[in-house]
C-alpha cells in the first residue's frame, strides 16, 4: 500500500522531470550568484557560506510546494485517499518521504559542489551534508503542512508566510553546525538539535497534514 504511493510519486516525477529538478536548478543558481555579486574575497565567502547554502536549500525546497496536494484536490483523488483503508496520515507521510527523495536528495548531491565554490574545508562540507540530511526532512514536512493548510487558496505567498517562521530553528541550527565545523569546533550539539527537530516534525506533522487535508475537503 505504502509502496504504491511511493511508486506513484516516483512515476509522476519521472513523467514531469521539470517540476522535480526546478528546485535543484534554483539551489545551484542562487548559491552561485552570491560569489559573483560579492567579489573574490575568500574570507568573506567562507564566513557567509553556511548561511547562504542553508537559505538557498530552504527556498529551493519551498519552491513549487504549494502544488503538492493541488492536483489531488482537483482530480478528486484526495477524496479517495481520505477513504482509503490505510490511515491518511500514513499515506501523506509516505508522499512527503517520496517528495523528499525527489526534491532534497539532489540538493544533497549538489551541496558539496557549492561548498567547494565557497572554499569550505572537507570537514565543513561533511558537516554540511549531515546537517542537510537531518534538516531537509523537517523542512519537507513543514512545507507539506503549509501546502495542506493553504490548499485551495491561490498564490504561494501564504505558504511562505506559514512555513518560513516555523523553519527558523532548523535554519539556525543547520547553519550553526556548519559554522562550528569550519571554525574547527564540535558540530555535535547543533546536529543533535536538528535531529530533535526532525523527531518532533515526524511525530506531529503527518497527523496535522492529514487533519488540514480533511478540512480542505469539506
Amino acid at each position: 500500500m505504502l509502496k504504491a504511493v511511493f511508486v506513484r510519486e516516483m512515476r509522476l516525477a519521472q513523467r514531469r522531470p521539470a517540476q522535480a529538478l526546478g528546485g535543484l536548478l534554483f539551489f545551484v543558481l542562487v548559491g552561485s550568484l552570491f560569489p559573483l555579486a560579492l567579489g573574490p574575497d575568500s574570507a568573506l565567502l567562507q564566513q557567509i557560506a553556511p548561511g547562504v547554502v542553508w537559505v538557498a536549500a530552504l527556498l529551493a525546497l519551498l519552491l513549487g510546494q504549494h502544488q503538492l496536494f493541488e492536483g489531488e484536490l482537483a482530480d478528486g483523488s484526495l477524496e479517495q485517499w481520505a477513504l482509503a483503508a490505510t490511515p491518511l496520515w500514513l499515506l501523506v507521510g509516505m508522499k512527503v518521504a517520496a517528495q523528499w527523495l525527489i526534491a532534497a536528495v539532489p540538493l544533497l548531491l549538489a551541496a558539496p559542489v557549492l561548498g567547494w565554490q565557497y572554499g569550505m574545508t572537507a570537514d565543513a562540507v561533511g558537516v554540511l551534508l549531515a546537517a542537510l540530511a537531518l534538516g531537509t526532512p523537517s523542512l519537507s514536512l513543514l512545507a507539506a503542512l503549509g501546502a495542506a493548510l493553504t490548499l485551495g487558496l491561490r498564490g504561494q505567498l501564504l505558504l511562505a508566510l506559514v512555513v518560513l517562521p516555523l523553519s527558523i530553528p532548523i535554519l539556525i541550527f543547520g547553519s550553526h553546525a556548519v559554522t562550528q565545523a569550519s571554525l574547527g569546533l564540535s558540530a555535535a550539539p547543533a546536529l543533535n538539535l536538528l535531529g530533535a527537530c526532525l523527531c518532533l516534525a515526524l511525530l506531529a506533522t503527518p497527523w496535522a497534514i492529514a487533519q488540514a487535508l480533511r478540512l480542505a475537503l469539506e
Partner: protein, 226 residues
C-alpha cells in the same frame, strides 16, 4: 462477489441534516435501504444531492441525524464503515499523467484490494475500455474517464456504492452498461445510492426514488447556521 456475505447489510439514515456555506441544505431526511436495494437521488441543481452523498461517505460533517450500518449506529467518518463503501464523485479521482491501468492499480491498492488481472480485464472489456489501458488518463475522453471511474467502483468490491451522477458524459450504450452493473450489484446483495438527472435504465421496482427538491421541510426559510 459473495452474496451471502452481503445478505444482512442495511443502511438506515434518520433525521439527517447538512449545512453548507451557512445554508441548511438538508433537514430531517430519512431513508432506509436493505440488501440489494437501490436509492435514486433526484432534485434540481443545488438541491444537495452531492452534499448528501459526501456526508454519507463521511467526507464532510453532518449537523444532525444518525446513520446505522448493518444495524449499528456509527459516524460516517468511522473507518470500518468507510471501508465498506465505494464513492464516485464528479471526478474519477485519477491522475492525468498516469495511464488508465496505473491509475486503476493505485486506486485499488488504496482500498487494499488485491490486483486480479483476469477480473480487471473482464471488467474493462465490459465497459469497452480494453484497448485503453496503456493510454494516459489525460488523453481519454470524458465518457471514457467516467467509465474508468465506474470500473474502479466495480473492482473495489464494496457493498455500498455512493455514485454522484455516474451517467454524466456516458453515451447510451454506457448508460445501459451502468444499469447492468447496478443490477448485478443489487443482485449480489449490494446497496447503492445514486444521484442522477437522467434516470437510470432500470426496471420499475428495483429502485426507490428520493426527490430532494420536494422535501416539505426545505420550503421553510433557511435558518441561520448554528
Amino acid at each position: 462477489m459473495e452474496p451471502t456475505a452481503w445478505a444482512d447489510l442495511s443502511l438506515a439514515v434518520s433525521g439527517w441534516g447538512c449545512v453548507r456555506n451557512g445554508r441548511v441544505l438538508l433537514r430531517e431526511l430519512s431513508f432506509e435501504l436493505g440488501a440489494g436495494q437501490l436509492l435514486v437521488l433526484k432534485g434540481r441543481n443545488g438541491a444537495g444531492k452531492s452534499t448528501l452523498l459526501r456526508s454519507l461517505a463521511g467526507l464532510m460533517p453532518w449537523r444532525a441525524g444518525r446513520l446505522a450500518w448493518a444495524g449499528q449506529t456509527l459516524a460516517p467518518s468511522a473507518a470500518p464503515y468507510q471501508q465498506q463503501l465505494a464513492y464516485l464523485s464528479h471526478q474519477a479521482g485519477m491522475n492525468d499523467a498516469l495511464t488508465a491501468l496505473e491509475n486503476l492499480r493505485f486506486a485499488l491498492a488504496l482500498q487494499d484490494q488485491a490486483w486480479n488481472a483476469a477480473h480487471v480485464a473482464r471488467t474493462l472489456a465490459t465497459l469497452g475500455l480494453q484497448d485503453l489501458g496503456a493510454r494516459p488518463f489525460g488523453r481519454l475522453s470524458q465518457g471514457q474517464r467516467r467509465r474508468l471511474g465506474l470500473a474502479r467502483v466495480v473492482l473495489s468490491d464494496r457493498p455500498l456504492w455512493l455514485l454522484d451522477e455516474p451517467d454524466n458524459a456516458l453515451d447510451d450504450e454506457g448508460a445501459l452498461c451502468l444499469a447492468d452493473m447496478l443490477r448485478a450489484h443489487c443482485a449480489a446483495g449490494g446497496l447503492a445510492v445514486v444521484a442522477t438527472h437522467r434516470g437510470l435504465a432500470l426496471a420499475e421496482g428495483l429502485a426507490s426514488t428520493l426527490d430532494l427538491s420536494n422535501l416539505p421541510t426545505l420550503n421553510t426559510p433557511p435558518e441561520a447556521a448554528c
